[in-house]
């Protein structure tokens, strides 16, 4: 297991190579599948598409302190697409917010890891999410508060591509550029699949870049599984002034397991124990 002391995370842009990030993300993907199969429910597909980005945020980019989740100088991460919390829970556990064993409490009665993120029960969760289209608005509020406090902390927020069908996402997008929130970075996890099928068939969100641009955002398009590109995009956002940044991350739903990739059916269904064995073999565990 790759572990770091809590103080490792308290500065931004840490020395960590892409190979190490990839190895961590592989562990996170195994966690996602074990957690969801153990719970016999949850959302593995989108968790796998989001994993590399969340790993890069917590291990490379964000300033945070697993020993003190409410540390004032921390950067914030808001998971607006709350259903992919298995990826976030795994990263929080692995960076030291709570013991790894807790992952097996996911979705269990009395456990601290709710089916969707709850800031009341889980250290490291900045705001409770789950109902789509609300987290990004809360991220705007956090960014406004940080500006009022003249803090240099940043707010990172991940939204789903299906999620941006919610009108409230665009209300939030409009308000973020109106208030010149250059401390807000939104990452769209564009795996192009939602529960009912391909996003462009259910309700097209395209052209995505042009929409965010028209709303006054600085936009960057990347491959959401290429650590070099993720790092570069996050660093580019640091130099953008007076406007928020949207990173459109092209991703693959179910990334990392051949029989899960690009298949909508794995949106909200756990692998069977047999399928889990297959998948873990592919991810190099068995």
């Amino acid at each position: 297991m790759i572990t770091f002391e809590p103080q490792f995370f308290t500065e931004r842009n840490r020395e960590i190579d892409d190979g190490t990030l990839r190895a961590i993300a592989r562990e996170v993907r195994k966690d996602i599948l074990k957690m969801t199969t153990n719970a016999n429910s949850g959302h593995p597909g989108g968790s796998m598409s989001a994993a590399d980005i969340i790993v890069t945020l917590y291990y490379y980019k964000m300033r945070h302190n697993p020993e003190n989740p409410k540390w004032e100088e921390r950067d914030r991460f808001v998971l607006s697409k709350g259903h992919v919390c298995p990826a976030l829970y795994s990263v929080l556990a692995r960076t030291g917010y709570f013991p790894l064993e807790k992952l097996m409490e996911f979705r269990k009665l009395g456990g601290m890891l709710q089916g969707h993120p709850s800031m009341d029960t889980t250290p490291g969760i900045e705001i409770s999410t789950g109902s789509l289209g609300h987290g990004i608005g809360a991220a705007v509020g956090m960014a406004l508060a940080l500006k009022l406090d003249k803090s240099d902390s940043k707010v990172y927020c991940m939204v789903g591509d299906g999620e941006i069908q919610e009108g409230s996402v665009w209300e939030a997008a409009m308000s973020a550029s109106h208030y010149n929130l250059d401390n807000l970075i939104v990452i769209v996890d564009n795996n192009n699949l939602q529960i009912d099928g391909p996003v462009d068939e259910v309700m097209s969100i395209y052209p995505t870049m042009e929409k965010w641009k028209a709303f006054g955002w600085h936009t960057i398009e990347i491959n959401g599984h290429d650590f070099k590109e993720i790092k570069e995009a996050l660093n580019e956002a640091d130099n953008v002034k007076y406007k928020p940044t949207m990173i459109l991350a092209k991703t693959v739903k179910g990334k990392g397991v051949s029989f899960m990739e690009n298949r909508a059916e794995w949106h909200g269904k756990a692998l069977s124990p047999e399928q889990l064995k297959e998948a873990l073999k592919e991810l190099g565990e068995l």
Binding site: V140, G141, E171, S175
Partner: protein
């Protein structure tokens, strides 16, 4: 009785709070002139956020501000704040118990000429049904000022319902508002009248008129609809054995429902509810509409007589 503006009292109190505490921030959705948050905006432009005509986002942004240590007051018309934005209030404010104060004006039928689309007759029900939410319906300007000061420094989500119309002043400076407590304004033996908002002034009138007919009515002002003052309701109903509620709200889900829930579980006595029936409002002058729906002293007296008949059987 002198008529006073609850929303002006709100705007003025916000400015006072803003002077004392930098954590106070205010959000509005393009109605700051009507909700009177414009008063705060003028003095503290850097702590006032106009969110445009986008109430869902306004609630979410308020949640984010609260999660970052601010004390956000959020205002718009009652129907938009509690209706359109309901699920943002539920998900982002109430579920995580965040310190957001939703203060809406234009509650009730006295919105008047704008008609059904703008008259919130469901707002108290909408907010009362969400866990962690406290719901308060003040009666006049003096109470409004105290409510706003109190909720600013009481942790958790609040909904305060104010109105467009001016209402009669019924309290003086000796009044002391407490969250979750009803106030006996007049003691009586034959019937208990429980009200809030504008209906409290009508209840006092009705009680005087009933006294002339030899009926002794106890009048309880119940500003906090949730959590409701169960103890006081049970105590009074045990004594009078007949209860009438009156509110400027649908009879479904508001004060009448909250009182009925307490009575039915603790001391079932005959009860009558006065409110708007299960219908939409309509255009007209505010006070005309109150009388049209019998939301006045005569309506209360009618309900009192009805409940007394049932009590005698």
């Amino acid at each position: 009785m002198e008529k006073v503006s609850l929303r002006d009292a709100y705007g003025d109190t916000l400015v006072e709070l803003g002077k004392r505490d930098e954590r106070i921030v205010v959000l509005d959705a393009d109605l700051s002139g009507s909700t009177k948050t414009a008063k705060f905006a003028k003095v503290f432009p850097e702590r006032f956020f106009n969110m445009g005509i986008a109430e869902i986002n306004m609630m979410n942004v308020a949640a984010g501000l609260a999660a970052s240590g601010k004390i956000p007051f959020v205002s718009t018309f009652a129907i938009f704040g509690t209706g359109r934005a309901w699920e943002a209030v539920r998900q982002s404010i109430c579920y995580p118990k965040l310190n957001v104060k939703i203060v809406c004006t234009h509650g009730g039928i006295t919105v008047g000429e704008d008609g059904a689309s703008h008259q919130a007759l469901e707002d108290v029900a909408n907010m009362r049904n969400i866990p962690n939410m406290t719901v308060i319906v003040p009666a006049d300007d003096i109470e409004t000022k105290q409510v706003i000061e109190k909720v600013a420094y009481t942790d958790g989500p609040f909904y305060v319902r104010l109105t467009r119309e001016k209402f009669p002043r019924i309290f003086d400076e000796n009044y002391k508002f407490e969250i979750g407590k009803g106030h006996v304004l007049r003691e009586g033996e034959d019937v208990t009248i429980i009200t809030n908002g504008v209906m409290t002034s009508f209840a006092l009138l009705a009680a005087e008129m009933l006294e002339r007919e030899g009926i002794s009515a106890e009048v309880i002002h119940m500003p906090t609809v949730k959590p409701i003052d169960k103890e006081l309701i049970v105590k009074s109903a045990t004594k009078t054995k007949a209860v009438v509620t009156a509110e400027e709200h649908s009879i479904i889900g508001g004060l009448g429902s909250a009182v009925a829930e307490v009575l039915v579980e603790n001391c079932p006595v005959p009860m009558e509810r006065l409110g708007t029936p299960d219908v939409f409002g309509l255009s007209g002058k505010g006070w005309e509409l109150l009388h049209y729906f019998k939301l006045d002293e005569n309506g209360i007296i009618e309900k009192v007589k009805k409940v007394l008949e049932r009590k005698e059987k």
